[in-house]
């Protein structure tokens, strides 16, 4: 078996929403939160919000490379209708076992992405465990964005994020996908 992990996109943050929003403003709550249902933006499941605390505002895809060798990104406006693009923008990242988007594992979606650094419908072969996706926007828009944070959803896999109010860093696992690895990548995939 092999397991693909996606870690926190924010280098210094705090869990502020799981199945419900966290009430305790990162100062104590039940694990899954208790301040209202936390909806999804783009058809994913198991949303996780990570509040930005300090440090870099950059958002990164962080994975356990080389278990994940390539990704395919989809940049769309699928969240917060009626708000400015930095709140609406989502980046869905498909995860692949081999280079050139071969052998799909699962996908993760990031919402509220400013200054996107990847292109729509584009394959990237990874050379390290991180890929710069964009930045965390400032400001607010209605009830959909009320402070700097990253919203995540997944397709497939499991949620292993910490509980509400727990601090997260670049090493904190958020989602995982366990799969049976292929014996080898196709020759053109250069595994």
């Amino acid at each position: 078996m092999a397991t693909a992990y996606v870690r926190s996109p924010i280098s210094n943050g705090c869990i502020s929403g799981k199945t419900q929003y966290c009430c305790g403003v990162c100062d104590g709550d039940v694990c899954n939160g208790s301040c209202g249902a936390h909806g999804t933006c783009a058809g994913g499941t198991s949303p996780v919000d990570i509040a930005y605390i300090s440090g870099s505002l950059d958002l990164y895809l962080r994975v356990n490379y080389p278990t994940i060798r390539s990704i395919k990104t989809f940049v769309e406006l699928r969240c917060c209708p009626g708000c400015a693009n930095q709140y609406r923008r989502t980046i869905k990242v498909e995860l692949y076992e081999c280079p050139n988007a071969i052998y799909y594992i699962g996908s993760v979606m990031y919402a509220h992405v400013d200054n996107p650094q990847v292109s729509n419908n584009t394959v990237y072969n990874l050379t390290s465990s991180s890929k710069w996706l964009g930045t965390v926007p400032a400001g607010a828009c209605g009830g959909c964005y009320t402070g700097r944070h990253s919203h995540m959803e997944r397709s497939g896999g499991s949620t292993i994020a910490p509980c509400c109010a727990v601090g997260v860093t670049t090493s904190t696992n958020i989602y995982s996908w366990t799969f049976t690895p292929h014996a080898y990548c196709p020759a053109s995939a250069d595994k």
């Binding site: 403003v25 709550d29 919000d49 605390i53 400032a138 009830g143 402070g147 700097r148 727990v166 670049t170």
Partner: protein
Amino acid sequence: MMEIPKFITVPSQRFRRARSESFRLSIYLNSLSIYLILALALVACASPASPAVSPTSSSAPAETEATVEPAKASKTPAKTTGTQMEPQPTATLAPVTETPSTASAPLTSKEPFITADGLRLRFDSWAPENLWFAYWLGESEENLVSLAFANVDSGETCQYEDVKAQDLGSGRVVWQEDGSAIAILNREGKAIGGVPCEAFAPVDNVSLPNPYTRVDLSPDGRHLAERIILELEEQAFHTELRVTEVGTGRTIVSVPYIDSPHFVYGGPRWLNDELYLIGMTVDKGILYYSVSDDRVSNVFPDLLGLAMNDEQNVSTIGVQADPTFGEYHILLGMSDQGALLFHSELDQTEELHFYPGSFADGSGGWRSFSPDGKWLLFLSDTPVGNGEMDYWLRAVDPPSSAPVKIADQASSGGLSSNGQLMAFFRQGTVLIVSFPEGRLLSRWQAPNYWLDRLWWSPDGSRLVTYGSHMESGQEALFVIEP
């Protein structure tokens, strides 16, 4: 070589009336949190009733050999022994000037104390007597999970198949002073209680803290501040702050504002008898209330003498307050620009060119001030640029105190409950550093597992750390005695 962060002191225009009044040397009542009151009520209401539920477990003699199998939890519970296989950390103290990246403490391997065996697993909490911890096991995070306990001395574990929470993240355990535990199974307060690995019985009339309300009594006991979430509009929390006079019951101020789950600050809380920090708001900036002036105002222009526009760059607020003398410090994380540290006793604001870190462990919260209020934890980007951070410690006072690097290329795991040890993660391993000296004491790894969160025992003698297997994805808990 990392450049030592710089400190710049800038003048402030403090709210001087509040300051002078805060200097009174009187004996204050202790500040009481409503959570403490509710916790006491919970104990009082805990009245075990039949029928009892027993863990479906079997006992085994205590194992003293150092080579027993690690305890494993499963759906078919059994009392097991384990963890006497403790490799003795033979760490040698590194020189004070050495940071964990260059020190040579041995790397000790740990085997799992609890493995999920294909199930999902979540650590809940330590018992106050430091021997037991509670955790939850289930087939998936969305479905019913059952309560389990482990004894870190004997290795005994047990699982209550009939004590179910609705999903992996909804149950919680409240420990009692007598060592018993009450497991709260849902949001309606369904609860069951007992002694770990013995019979459990339903508990009636459990009073749960209201997550929408927070109540704080002023240090002198004269005023009560209530923060009440009135309405949830997705992630916009329509909230009201009310301050009442305890003696008369008269509400002296009512402030509506919009709160957010993404605001991280050490409040709302009383800074002293006169000032109540409301904190960050979505719609009105960073607010505080002055009792003596009966005025709600913004922290930046009033307390710090800084431009109101700068408040929008604040991402986190930390507070250290001394209720005896009425003095306080406010730490303001400024997005990606560093931080500000306000010293009320000096009426000064320092500009810090690094970022607030947290002393909190996996139990949650965000605390950049050490529990004794003497130290600040900061972090800075590493030259490597891999997302991990360098960690710095400095005395809160006096201003411009020199920082000392205590860990590099790491992530904070939290300060021990006794305030003597600090844990860090680096690439899935755990580093233990003396506090506040910053000596590397030991390093711990779990082969093939990635460790990324931990919980210190109440006495600071042990920690439980969570790991996920890098190939199979299996979850496990490890017990470390640093």
